[in-house]
C-alpha cells in the first residue's frame, strides 16, 4: 500500500520520513497486542505532523517503532520506515545508533524532563550526547552545548547547573537542546508539554515552532491534545486503536472532519474562545488491542455503525485530495444521510 505518497510528495519540501504499511505487535502472555497496524504516512522537511490519539491508541509505540527503541517482546511485522530514502527496519542496533538516532531522527521522549541525570551538570549532559555520536573535542562539544542552550532560551552560563536547579519548563528546554545536538532532520516529540503548566507549555510550543523555522527540522508531534496539535501542525493524523482513522491537512481535518471519531473528539473538546457550550462525550472507551473488535475498530462506539462495519475493516481512502479517511460511510455522514444507530452525546 503506497497510499497517498504521490499526492503528498507533490507539495513543497523533500520527504524526510516515509512510513509505509508499518505494523508492529507486542507479544504478551495473553496474546498479540496489535499496537501499530498498517500505518502509512510521510513527513516533509520543516513540516510538523501531528499524531492525535487517546491513551493506548499506539501513538507512542509508533514513535518507538520509528526509532527502533522497542522492548524485546515487540516485533515489526511488516512495512518500511524510510528515513531520507533509507529503510531503517532491517538496520541493526549499532547501525541505528551510528547512522540514524540523534543525527537523523532525534526524540524528545514522554516525560523528558525526568530523563536528565540528576548528578551531572546540564552542559555536561548535552556535551556527552555530542561526544558519543560525533568525533569532536571536549571543548568543541561544550561550545556547541552552550550554543544550543541559548538557542532554546537558556542563558549559557546555566550550563553549570544541575537539573534540580532548573524549573520544569527549563528542563524541557534543555532536553530540546539536547535533541538538536546532532542537527537531526526529524524531531519526534512525544507529549512534549504534558505535566507543564499552560503558560510554560505556550513557551515550549513557541520554541519548537521557532526551532523548526530556524533549523528547518521536521517535527512529528505526538499528543492527546487536539488544540495543541492544531496550533502546531500542517498535517494531522487521528489515530484510533493502532490505526489511522483520518489523515490529512490540518485545516481540512479540523474544519471538515470526515471520520465519526474525529467528529466526536472535536465535540468533546472545550474551546476557550466559544461561549459556554455543552460538551458531548463518545460513549464507551477505546478497545483492548489484544482483542480489537472485528472490522472497523471504532464501530463499538460509533453512532453510525452498521453490519458492514463489523464484517469489513474500512481501508484508509483518499476522500479529497490529500485528505484520507477510514470509514465505510463517510460520504453518507458528511451529507447527513447516514442513519444513527446509537445515541451519542450528552448524558444529561
Amino acid at each position: 500500500m503506497t497510499l497517498g505518497l504521490s499526492t503528498k510528495t507533490g507539495r513543497l519540501g523533500e520527504t524526510v520520513l516515509e512510513v509505509d504499511d508499518l505494523t508492529m505487535h507486542y507479544t504478551t502472555s495473553a496474546g498479540e497486542v496489535k499496537a501499530v497496524d498498517g500505518l502509512t504516512f510521510s513527513v516533509r522537511k520543516g513540516e510538523v505532523l501531528g499524531i492525535v490519539g487517546e491513551s493506548g491508541c499506539g501513538k507512542s509505540s509508533l514513535a518507538l517503532t520509528i526509532m527502533k527503541l522497542l522492548p524485546s517482546n515487540a516485533k515489526i511485522i511488516s512495512g518500511r520506515v524510510m528515513v531520507k530514502g533509507v529503510d531503517v527496519v532491517p538496520m541493526s542496533d549499532s547501525e541505528m545508533r551510528r547512522k540514524v538516532r540523534w543525527s537523523q531522527v532525534a526524540m524528545i521522549p514522554q516525560g523528558a524532563m525526568n530523563s536528565l541525570n540528576p548528578i551531572f551538570k546540564i552542559g555536561d549532559q548535552i556535551a556527552e550526547a555530542i561526544l558519543a555520536h560525533s568525533p569532536t573535542s571536549r571543548g568543541e562539544a561544550h561550545r556547541k552545548a552552550a550554543e544550543l542552550l541559548s538557542l532554546v532560551g537558556i542563558d549559557p552560563s546555566r550550563a553549570n547547573n544541575y537539573p534540580h536547579e532548573f524549573s520544569g519548563g527549563m528542563k524541557q528546554r534543555a532536553m530540546i537542546a539536547m535533541s538538536l545536538a546532532l542537527d537531526p532532520t526529524l524531531l519526534i516529540a512525544d507529549e512534549p508539554t504534558t505535566a507543564l503548566d499552560v503558560i510554560v507549555q505556550a513557551g515550549i510550543v513557541k520554541l519548537l515552532l521557532d526551532v523548526r523555522q530556524k533549523l528547518g527540522v521536521a517535527i512529528m508531534l505526538i499528543s492527546h491534545d487536539l488544540a495543541l496539535v492544531a496550533q502546531m501542525s500542517e498535517d494531522v493524523a487521528i489515530m484510533y486503536a493502532g490505526e489511522f482513522a483520518e489523515y490529512g491537512n490540518s485545516r481540512e481535518v479540523y474544519h471538515s472532519p470526515l471520520h465519526p471519531y474525529t467528529i466526536g473528539l472535536l465535540h468533546a473538546f472545550a474551546d476557550i474562545r466559544k461561549p459556554k457550550e455543552k460538551l458531548a462525550s463518545i460513549p464507551g472507551s477505546p478497545p483492548d488491542l489484544l482483542t480489537p473488535p472485528s472490522g472497523c475498530r471504532f464501530r463499538t462506539r460509533c453512532a453510525y455503525a452498521q453490519d458492514l462495519c463489523a464484517s469489513r475493516d474500512p481501508k484508509l481512502e483518499e476522500a479529497f485530495p490529500g485528505h484520507f479517511v477510514a470509514c465505510h460511510y463517510w460520504k453518507d455522514i458528511k451529507e447527513g444521510r447516514a442513519p444513527r444507530t446509537r445515541s451519542w452525546g450528552s448524558t444529561r
Binding site: 487517546e54 491513551s55 524549573s167 520544569g168 519548563g169 527549563m170 503548566d197 499552560v198 503558560i199 510554560v200 507549555q201 505556550a202 513557551g203 510550543v205 513557541k206 492527546h224 491534545d225 487536539l226 488544540a227 495543541l228 492544531a230 496550533q231 501542525s233 490540518s250 485545516r251 479540523y254 474544519h255 466526536g264 473528539l265 472535536l266 468533546a268 473538546f269 472545550a270 474551546d271 476557550i272 474562545r273 461561549p275 459556554k276 457550550e277 455543552k278 460538551l279 458531548a280 462525550s281 463518545i282 460513549p283 464507551g284 472507551s285 477505546p286 450528552s346 448524558t347 444529561r348
Partner: protein, 350 residues
Amino acid sequence: MSQDGGEARDEVVLDVQHLVKFFPVRRSFSETLRGAKADVVHAVDDISFKVMRGKIMGLAGESGSGKTTVLRAILMLTEPSSGSVYFDGVDVTKARKGEMKKLRPRLQVVFQDPYESVNPRMTVFDIVSEGLFINNLVSSRAEAEEKVIKALRDVQIIPPEEYLYRYPHELSGGQRQRVAIARALVLDPEIILADEPVSMLDVSIRAEVLNVLLAIREKRGISILMVTHDLALSKDVVDDLAILYLGKIVETGPAEQVVGTPYHPYTQALVAAVPVPDPGGPQIKVLASGEIPTNISPPSGCRFHTRCRFAKQICTDVEPPLTAATPGHQVACHFWDLARQTYLSESDAR
C-alpha cells in the same frame, strides 16, 4: 437546612473565610543547631470565598497555586493554619470529632485519579455502600442496595444491577470516576468537592463525567467545588471561577466573564496560553515571563509582579486587595483597568 430562612437560591452552603495554610519546611541538622528560623511554604494565604446552593464553583491556577490545598483544608484532611470554613453554620475547622462525623456525609469528595481512589479489592456495591454503613444511614443490606442502585443510576452506570458485584478493574476510567461520584452521592451530600475530576481521563470520556456532575447538580441541587487547571473546560462547566496564584485569589467572578474578559494580567496570561482546536484560529501568546516562583518566600507586594508586563513600583511595594471591578467580578490588581483595555485591544487585533 437554611438557618437564616433566606431564599434557597441565594443560600450560602460553604463559606470559606481568611483560610491560611502554611507548611513548615524541614530544617537541616546544622540549621537546627544554629537555631535558624524555619522556612514556611505559603501554600494558601488568606483566601475567602463562598459556594452557593446548587452552584458549581471552580478554583483554577497553575500547579503550586494552592488550589488542592484549599480543598484539603476544607475537608480537614490537612489542618488549616488559621481561618474558618463555615458549613451549615458550623466552623469545620473547630468542630469536635463527633460533630465532624455528622458533617462528613454532607460534605463529600471526589478525587483526581479514579485508578487510585477506589479500592481494587472491593466490589462496586462495597465501594458505594461503605459510607452508608459507616454512618449508620441504613438498617439493612436491602436498603443499602436500593440506595446504591439509585446512586449508580444517577451517575449513568446503567443498568446498575449488573454492575453491583463488579470490581474496579472491570470498569473503564470514566466508569470508575462515576462510581467514585456515586460513592459521594449516595450519602445525599449538600456539596461535593471535586479535585480535577477529569484530568486523568481521555478527552472522549471527560464530557460523560462532567455531564454527570452537571446533572446531579440540576436534579438534586447539590453544590460542587471543583479544582481544575483547564480554563476552557471550566468555562463550560463552572458557574463561578476563582483564579489562584501563589496561595491568593487574584480574580473571581462568573466563569464565562473571567475567561472571556479577564481583568488580571495573570488570568490574561493563562487564557492567552490556552490553544484552540482550530488550525486557522488565533495563535497562543505568552503574556507572562518565567514560571511560578517558589512560595517559600513569595514576592513582596503583588505576588505576580515578577512576571507581570504591567508591573510598576507600586506593585512591588503594595499588595493589591481583591476588589469589585464590575458587578460580581473581583480582581486584585493595581492596574486592572489598563490591563483589561490592553487585553481587549489585543484581542481585536488578532
